[in-house]
Point group: C2
Chain length 410, copies 2
């Protein structure tokens, strides 16, 4: 039996980064079905985007030199040679003193280096009066200005957003190698827990709330879910079911069974699944102290506290980090916090991180965060809340009116 | 032919709220498949959650009165009657001077009103020494404390997050009436646009980047997409294809064709689809000025600018508002902006709203926003950016070091 010291939130994040690697299995997918997957292989551009110099406006392709000195009072005069048609090669050449009409996105004709906007000139019987001068490259996107041939466009580990798919499409790339979707197993334990579909509860029974709340969160993170059902508080049954589910998934989530008391064999069950086993057993956090984190043969196991609000907050904080690392996503530090002013004084024990559920509202152009009072066993505290205010472990509380960072929920 | 005046961003939002209603079609779905749908019918609780008083800790159910005056130096003594088992009715009654063991989540035995934590007492030969006093209801969740019978739990128009599903499960609700998923039609136009799968581009051709970028964004918002392909710049062909797609979808998105020049029949095509037709034709925004918004017989139509970055920014700002209203979602104002300091002076014309693509980085504990320089035709400006800095129309720019709101992209 290992002995564990409660870890701070900061230590827990460091341990996760150290202990959890990526699952590593990849597959090839068409880019139309690759949204929110993680790129497994970097993508290098095989061609320039755009492939040719393009006009960014409706106007006339000219030699910038020929417009120098043009103004409203002293217009320049150019010979209009014709026009470029969209989607076709620019056949006409722009010579000294000449102009060719080019629409937005059209190909720049050879000899031209800039475009004068249609609003800044006037055509009179084949002669173009220019009322402004343009600089070389003005109103032009140069070939390769968006993406340059040979440039690394996207690095392995990139979470594919719509704009990344757009950039892949720009290169004519139709398929990418991505890390396959993770499968998360979820197992509830507790003699009092019954399937949520149960219509008439017997005295002492409660429905499996966490199943919907936790697996819904995993689905939000673009993961598949496998439900292992509900096991009784019995070592043999729990151990057998946990092992069965563990074998089929990339990450195992156990709900309930991690508080002190008759249920401390959860640790034993987890340790039996493989090495190195449990690396966090208790976190200096409120709510959610009785959290267990483990890795067995490369697969993470998350033992959540049983109280619904605690379970969701712990999963949101540590489960996301674990699953993102496992998914192969390159961890890019992005601010995910908005700021609001707290409506009440909130004390906090130093050395412990507190996460306060809050409702946000706007008053006189400022955002305020109103704490939702309620025990961590109440799921409705999360239904009523818009996010979590974080009081980091070194702070001893926050004062009414103070600006606080809020982790917003969607 | 109607005449249009360019609208400000604020006017555009007001017009959207006025012109766009909800599509209104509903269906019944199991709650396990209802994540990110919008609730069509309010849900009222038919029972209490929890159904009985529960302990929130491992400890002993007592009458609070019996513990008054207990302390480390002067413990109280109670007769231990037995224990409550998880998931079963509490059979034993707690009388005067008595205690019954109850695990976390267990049912409170009749007669008891509070729980003393296991850490604060000691059992010696059937007698419980109590080292602390407890108050009535301490460490207890009362029946109905989470959800009260008859209370409205969720209002119609609620976007279902994992915690909402958890709360529904708590009540044993297995199905909900939701607004069905929206179907968004996307049609590209332009003689230069070719399918993104095209391997060898001819001179003057570009691939359909916006298709992936825009429909990916709609998918992110939990919508289905129907692709109408690419039409040539030809009134008859464009009109026919637009009508065909419009008939099959809840909202039609047209890409390209909304800038001045040979393409101004886009307005005519849109107007032919139904009344009241176009309500925004040009917005005082950069990038994205040539935007068209319309409603035809209750279906919104969005005419996006052709430049990829403009199209995505416009769709993110106005498309989301339009589609959320159409989906039946109750618009709840939530702050979606984080704050960062801008690294450069940025001028802006008063009366026009500017959206600056930025990359975020952390330095000395602060977030900084570095503008991504590049024309709105460049998709990679969005690949490189983490969000948009908004310069509202009444501002004349922002100064280096100023704190600015950033609309973060995921």
């Amino acid at each position: 039996m290992k002995f564990f010291k409660v870890k701070t939130v900061e230590e827990t994040f460091s341990l996760i980064d150290e202990m959890v690697g990526k699952s590593g299995q990849t597959e090839i997918r068409p880019i139309e079905e690759a949204l929110h997957f993680v790129l497994a292989k970097s993508v290098t551009a095989a061609e320039n985007v755009p492939a040719f110099d393009r006009s960014t406006v409706d106007g006339y392709a000219v030699r910038a030199n020929d417009t120098y000195g043009s103004s409203e009072s002293m217009p320049g005069f150019l010979t209009l040679r014709g026009e470029v048609r969209m989607g076709e090669a620019a056949a006409l050449t722009v010579g000294f003193g000449e102009a060719v009409y080019v629409p937005t996105g059209g190909m720049m004709p050879p000899g031209s280096d800039s475009v004068i906007m249609i609003e800044h000139c006037e055509e009179v019987a084949g002669i173009l009066n220019t009322y402004r001068q343009v600089a070389p490259a003005e109103n032009v996107i140069k070939a390769g200005e968006d993406i340059r041939e040979g440039e690394m466009l996207l690095e392995a580990g990139t979470w594919l957003r719509p704009q990344e798919l757009g950039a892949l499409a720009a290169l004519g790339i139709t398929e990418v190698e991505i890390y396959r979707k993770l499968k998360v197993g979820y197992l509830s334990s507790g003699d009092e827990i019954v399937p949520y579909q149960t219509q008439s509860l017997k005295a002492g029974q409660v429905r499996d709330i966490n199943y919907l709340a936790i697996t819904g969160t995993a689905r939000e993170w673009h993961m598949d879910v496998m439900y292992g059902g509900i096991v009784r508080d019995d070592f043999e049954a729990f151990s057998k079911k946990a092992k069965e589910l563990y074998d089929k998934v990339d990450c195992l989530i156990l709900s309930g069974g991690s508080s002190v008391g008759a249920k401390d064999y959860t640790t034993e069950v987890i340790e039996s699944l493989g090495a190195p086993g449990v690396f966090v057993h208790g976190i200096a956090i409120k709510p959610g102290k009785p959290t267990i984190l483990a890795v067995a043969d490369g697969k993470p196991i998350i033992g959540l506290p049983g109280h619904p609000a605690s379970a969701m907050i712990i999963f949101r904080l540590f489960g996301e980090r674990i699953l993102k690392k496992l998914s192969g996503e390159r961890l890019v530090k992005r601010p995910e916090r908005i700021f609001a002013r707290i409506t009440k004084n909130i004390p906090s024990a130093p050395g412990r991180s507190d996460y306060i559920r809050v409702k946000l509202f706007e008053q006189d152009g400022e955002w305020w965060a109103e704490p939702i009072i309620g025990k961590s066993g109440l799921i409705t505290t999360l239904v009523k809340s818009d996010g979590l205010v974080e009081i980091v472990s070194k702070k001893e509380g926050i004062l009414q009116g103070e600006y606080v960072p809020v982790i917003a929920s969607r």
